[in-house]
């Protein structure tokens, strides 16, 4: 059976698309040895997915090299350091975004579907050709947003564009960088607000967590670390839901605002 292609998109830049793609891909590959996963960096000219996996020094060829027949698909694919069933197809750093056509992408993704069970496509920001190229062969889309006005507005725009495609693409919502404390104090939009506005099914919520930045610096996806980090757990839960498992949403309020924390807050004034 050919694999499934999942698009990670947001419209707005900087909402955590690439980080989420990397973390969810790593989690998926870590669950099952038999599940082959490929992440495709479609941000041509602004390659970044390699950094998330710590693979920036292992790249010899890229997606453009392959599409222009300068290398084989196997030469372009880079295997992950830890997970043998996870591969990265890196973006080109020098070519520009118009270097590839939609037809080429359809052919590429069809080919990747023969080789892999899951293909995760990291879409560039914006809604120009790079976006359409990334979406053209996707079976499902994960819309990543932050609980913040401009990110939600752009997400709505992207959903509208995907819905206007003649081919039906199932859209899922991931709310990234949620600060439970701010939601509690009515300082920011809640997950319910975002769901209400965008009207698509929720796949998961990732709390704001400094460990995400730290793990990016080390080039090790946080979702592979089982030391009880919030965001890592949230990424793993999303990956599990993608495989069809039913996982309840993390209770972002209970633990962090538990009794001990309340006492600490009383004494230090810090939350």
């Amino acid at each position: 059976m050919p694999g499934k292609a999942i698009l990670f998109t947001s419209g707005k830049g900087g909402v955590g698309k690439t980080t989420a793609t990397a973390n969810i891909a790593a989690a998926l590959a870590s669950f099952e040895q038999d599940l082959s996963v490929c992440v495709v960096d479609m941000d041509i000219g602004l390659r970044n997915l390699d950094i998330q996996f710590g693979l920036e020094n292992k790249i010899t060829h890229n997606v453009i090299d392959y599409l222009e027949d300068n290398c084989s698909l196997d030469q372009a694919l880079v295997r992950d350091k830890h997970l043998s069933n996870l591969s990265l197809l890196p973006a080109a750093q020098t070519s520009d975004k118009d270097a590839i056509s939609s037809e080429q992408i359809v052919r590429l993704i069809t080919e990747l579907k023969e080789k892999f069970d899951l293909i995760l496509i990291d879409c560039p920001a914006g809604i120009e050709q790079g976006f359409h190229n990334s979406a053209v062969a996707a079976d499902e889309a994960i819309i990543i947003t932050n609980p913040e006005m401009s990110a939600v507005r752009d997400a709505d725009r992207v959903i509208g564009i995907l819905e206007s495609y003649p081919r039906h693409i199932n859209c899922w919502l991931v709310v990234n960088r949620l600060n439970p404390e701010m939601v509690k104090n009515h300082d920011t939009l809640s997950v319910e607000d975002v769901m209400d506005i965008l009207g698509i099914k929720l796949l998961g919520v990732i709390p704001e967590d400094q460990h995400v930045v730290v793990s990016s610096s080390h080039g090790e996806p946080l979702s592979l670390k089982y030391d009880n980090q919030w965001a890592g757990q949230a990424f793993r839960n999303i990956a599990k839901r993608l495989t069809g498992e039913e996982v309840p949403l993390l209770d972002l309020y209970k633990t962090r605002f538990g009794f001990l924390n309340k006492i600490k807050t009383l004494f230090t004034g810090k939350k």
């Binding site: 006005m149 507005r153 300082d187 920011t188 939009l189 607000d193």
Partner: protein, 105 residues
């Protein structure tokens, strides 16, 4: 946060919306506007649509083309396509002064 800051911020809170309420309200309004713009046909396409629509209606009614109006109307909640086409007579019937009003969301 000093006492005065606290006092002024809580006074503000009573008058104004919370940050999340304000964001929700503004976002809903903005997204509604965005969606309307996305749905609205460009003028030349609306004209083309109007003439196609009239061709179909003319199969069943005798109408006065020059008084036909087709517009997209919006209120706070939804967009409506409103066509107001005065009907002179039904085909096969004479002198019926009915107006056909079609509303399509």
């Amino acid at each position: 946060m000093g006492f005065l800051d606290w006092l002024s911020s809580s006074a503000n809170r009573e008058q104004n919306l919370s940050s999340s309420e304000s964001a929700r309200k503004r976002l809903k309004a903005t997204i509604f506007q965005d969606r309307v713009q996305m749905m609205t046909l460009p003028p030349e396409q609306l004209e083309e649509f109007k003439s196609e629509l009239l061709t179909v209606i003319k199969k069943y009614f005798e109408i006065s083309d020059e008084h036909a109006q087709c517009i997209l109307e919006q209120d706070e909640k939804e967009v409506e396509f409103v066509a107001n086409i005065p009907v002179k007579s039904f085909i096969g019937q004479i002198n019926s002064n009915t107006t056909a009003e079609t509303t399509n969301e």
